[in-house]
Structures are given as structure tokens and as C-alpha cells.
Amino acid sequence: MEYGRVDLNLVKKVLGPKTQFEIGDMACVYGALLAGCKFFAGYPITPASELAEGAARLLPRVGGTYIQMEDEIASIAAAIGASWTGERAMTGTSGPGFSLMQENIGYAAMTETPVVIIDIQRTGPSTGQPTQGAQGDMMQAKWGSHGDYEIIALAPSSCQECLDMTIMAFNLAEKYRNPVLVMGDGEIGHLRERIVIPDKVDLTFRTLTDLPREQYIPFVPSKVNPGSKVPDFAPFGSGSHSYITGLTHNEKGFPSTDKQPDHDRLVRRIMEKITDDAEKLVKVEEYMMEDADIAVICYGATARPAQTAVEDARRLGIKVGMVRLLIAWPFPYSYFAKLSERVKKVLVPEMNMGQMVHPIREALDSKVKVYPMNKIGGETHLPVDILKGIKEVV
């Protein structure tokens, strides 16, 4: 049986014209279809409902399944269950639903289940402003579930990136057998702009074991890809008789809840399979940074006013550039260590009271001055806000 294979011609036929005017949420759904996603479990929540609606409309047309679950906990649970049949599965939500999903995100990390979660962030805490965008879940994305685990989180700044990054998210989820998050926000999710459907899509698939049941050990580093710490996968129904548990387990998958070395080995491996590749996972975009003394560090929707502000400041002769995080987690520590040698000051505009500013501050040398610029309440920074900030720190 072939798992996760996608009929790209059929998908393209279903998606329609190559160039479209679409919202970010729908662009994520497009990306999912192009990536061969076969399963979306959802629950309505503003401003992410269009993910569920789009999946419900388009997935059946390519033979996939949309199931509406009773809540977000059930949505991610169903997606993880579906992933164990060998297919690509996802869910999507916004802040309150993302909070509800945290326990099962940890479960997916612990059981090494590939799953994609789109979080169209809105303001909080609590119900907050449902229709308003924010970047309130950036820390929750990394630290939301209890215990030690690694997460991969992407941050799109445009509708095109919603599409591209959803494809990337599936590939990374499959490669590392880990939950991967697309940290959108209400601004980008509901923004409507030009998107182009790619002609060709490069897909990565989880590595399936080629061993018979007697020789297959579910939680040892890959036998197929020597050097990889990611175990080979055996879908349910393939005869491997795998036992998968969120309890600390030994390499056979059997619970081992009172042996320190087993826990240490397991948790270090599931973290190291990602941290070992940290350099490969640095995805940072620089803009006008060649001679910059000041950097505006941003991600997601904030990159858009930041870019304009940097251009305006350049016209005033200020040597400022922009650094945009495309992958927020794992955090690109090595990049920022080097950035310390290039800039004296950094501004960090965020649509929260200061989240990614913490790892930024941690990663930069202490001689670099860090200025948070926090805007909350459901509005993006205006270019003039950021320009004002740049002028103030010059």
C-alpha cells in the first residue's frame, strides 16, 4: 500500500486557476491538499473557521476526509489517530482551541506522530477579541504542553506563505515524525491577496520500516536511514503490532515509568532528532541588512508594516534593516549569535506583550540593546509606529 501519495493533477484541477485572490486560511488548505493531506479534523473557531470550511469543501473532492469533531481536543486526537494509519493528517484552530490541544501536542511529540496544526492566532487571554489577530501563542507553541519536547513552528507573513509553509509543515512533520505548527494570525488568515499554485511540489514522506514484525523495534533510530534519530514507521494495519503509548516507553514501545535511563534516552532522542538539525532549520530572511546598525526583528503579520517602516527609515538615511523569522521554533540561536557582531540595537515589534523577544534577548550578546515594541488589541503596528520606534532608538 502506498501511503500519503497525492494525485497532483487532480488536486490542481480541484483548486482551480493557477493564480487566485484568496485569504490566508484558504491558502493553508490549498497547501495541505498539495502536500497530500488526506484528513482534517476540525472545530469552528474564529478566525480559523475557514480552514475547516475549506477542508470540508475541498478534501472530499480529492478523496480525503473532513470530520467535524466535538471540540479541539478531539480534533487533534482524531488527526493523530488518522496519522497512525499512515496518511497525512492535520487540524487547525485559533488561540482558545490551541490551548485545548496542548496535552495532545505533547502526546504527538512523545509518540512521534507526524501531524500538522495550523494556529490562526487571535487576541487573548481567554476569549479575548475573536475576530482580531494577534501573536499571542508564540510561547505556548514552544512550551504549551508539559514536559520536555521540541516543536517546529513556522510563521507565514503572506497568503502565499500560508500555502507554501503548510506544504513545508507536512514535509517537516513527516521527516521528523513530530507535530509541526503553522503560526498564522487573524490578520494573515483573513487577508486576501494573490496566491500562485506551484507547478511542482516536493514531498517528503515518513520512512516506513522494511523489517518483518519479529525484527521491527518501533522506537529505535532509523534502520533505513543510518544516522537519523527518527524511528522508522509502521502504520496500523500493516502487521507490525506496534504498541504506542504516551507513557515513557522503552525502544519496544512498552511502558517504562520508573527507569530513569529509559526516560532520559527517549526524551533526549525525541528532542535531539530536531535540535541536531537546528542549523538546517534556520530559516531567516534579511532585508536591507547589508550595512545595518539597527535590525527590526519580526515574524508573521508584523513583517509587513516593519518592511515599510524600514524602507521609510532608509529614505531618512537611517541604517536599519529587517530580519524576519520564517521558522520561529526551533529558535535560530546560531543566527542571532552572529547577528550580535553586526548590529548594535534591535527592535522587536510583536502583537503581544513580548514573547519572541525573550529568546532573541537570550541569543544576542548582552552588548546589543533590545527594544520590544508591543502592540495589542487586535491591530497590526502601523509603519509609522515602527518608524517612530526606529527614530527613537537611533
Binding site: V14, K38, F39, A41, P60, R61, G63, T65, I67, M69, E70, D71, I73, A74, S75, A77, A78, A79, I80, G81, A82, S83, W84, T85, E87, A89, E103, N104, Y107, F236, G237, S238, G239, S240, H241, S242, Y243, I244, T245, G246, L247, K252, F254, P255
Partner: protein, 296 residues
Amino acid sequence: MMETKAEVRETKGLDYERMRAKYLRKGMWPTIFCTGCGHGSVLDYTFWALEDLGLNMDKVVFVSGIGCSSRLPGYIEADGLHTTHGRSIAFASGIKTMNPELTVIVFTGDGDCSGIGGNHFLHGVRRNIDITVIAINNFIYGMTGGQLAPTTPRGAITTTTPYGNVENPFNMAEIAMAAGGSYVARWTVSHPYQPIKSIKDGIIKKGFAFIEMLSPCPTAYGRRNKLGEVQQLWNWYDDNTIPKEDYDKIMKFGTPQEQEAVSDKITVGVLQNIEKPEFTTEYKKMLDRVMKAKEK
């Protein structure tokens, strides 16, 4: 015709060695269960049901949540997904929906199913997805040491109701019936043959099958409620349960005194067995329709 466990044993021989080799996962023993626990019996009944059905164990997936009963998939030589507390039916729904060819069996407990997982339980039944849920009810949160469960009888002593439980308990089978369960049965572990038949029928049933098994927990429940000896709990089941047919007859034809005498008893038997549209079948029909329409 019902083929009883006795008949199974008679026709297929008391071949426990073969049964163990086929169904038990080596390397997971011994079990975590306490002396007098009924969970092993439920596992045994499940094995006999599977043996009767002759299912290919490569295509059977066991799913569970958290608690003593949720450890059962670990002891079975098949694919198993031991998930988070209360969410087993949601995980199972994803597996079954994505691959309807798999037989999906959920082991859950009273707290896992009707406490933290109550909403998933209701919606699994409502959706009528073709999974078989075996809910082992011991009236208590056993693994955590004996706290009040949604099923704990009124007046019972638990570690969190040290002066007696003042809450009303849930009746899980009745909830499944009210939510429209295709197949709902309730037995106790002291019924040696009927659960085998019900588990078998539940697996065959195209739809959500719910089998509640009353199972003794002498350690966490019995001990504090003058039911610490295994025999006492088995006797309690005999004294406090009534076959559904008998109950219905008494309620229809009995005297007020007779009715009063059985009104608080727990009914056992096949409580509901109805035909209704099943989720994965209906989804497949819709898919075929949509895919076909698109081709035009």
C-alpha cells in the same frame, strides 16, 4: 444461535497455550492489575470473542485512554494506541475514519469514558461510528488510588468522599442508549458467557457498540465499602443486578411491591440493538457522490 464460551472451549478445545501465544503480547507481563481485579476477565472474554470471529489480528487496532482498563491494549498482540485521559474515542474515530477496513476496539473505564471523556463518548455514539467500546466500570478511579468517579454509588466512601458520596451517579449504558447507540449491552464479570457474545455482536455491528462491564475493584473501591473480599463484590453484583427481561416484566406486570424491590437494580443484558446509518459508510457514499459529480 449464541455460541457460548463453554461451547467454544468444547469445540476448539481448552487450548489456552495456543490462545496465549496468539493473543497475548509477550514481554508486557506481568499485568499491573491487583488481586481480585476483574479487568483480566474482560480481556479473556474479548479474546474468546475475537477467536470466535476469527479476525486477522493484523487488522484489529485497540485504543485506550488512561486508567487501569486503558492498560489492556498493551497486553494484546496487535496494534495498540494508549492515548490521553478520556480521549480514546476521539483518537479511535480518526483511525476508523481514515482506514475503515480496520476493526477498532476501545477499552475505557468509567472515569475515562463518562468523566473526562464524557463529551467524546456522547459524540462517538451520536456519530454512530463503527467502533466497539468496552467500558469497564468499577465505580472508582482505581489507578489514582480510589477517588470519586461519575459512577460511584450514592453514599459510597472514596478517598475524596470520606464522609460518603452525596452525588448522583451516571448510568453509562443508559447514556449510550439515550444518545442513540446502535448496540448497547451491560454485563458483569460474573457473567462468564454473555459478554463474549456481546463483544462479538458489538464488533459485528455496523455502528457504535457500547458494552459496559461491571468489574470489581477490591483494592480501591471494595476495601472502603465493606466489599473488600472478591466474593463480596461478586455477590453484590448478584444482589444488585437484574436481567433486563425480568426487569421489564416486573415493571409491566408486577405488583407495586415487586416493582419497588427492583427499581434500584442495575439492568444487565442487551439493552439496545438498532439499525441506523453508520458514519464511515455514509461518508464513503458522500465521497463517491462528490467524486463522481466532479468527473462530469
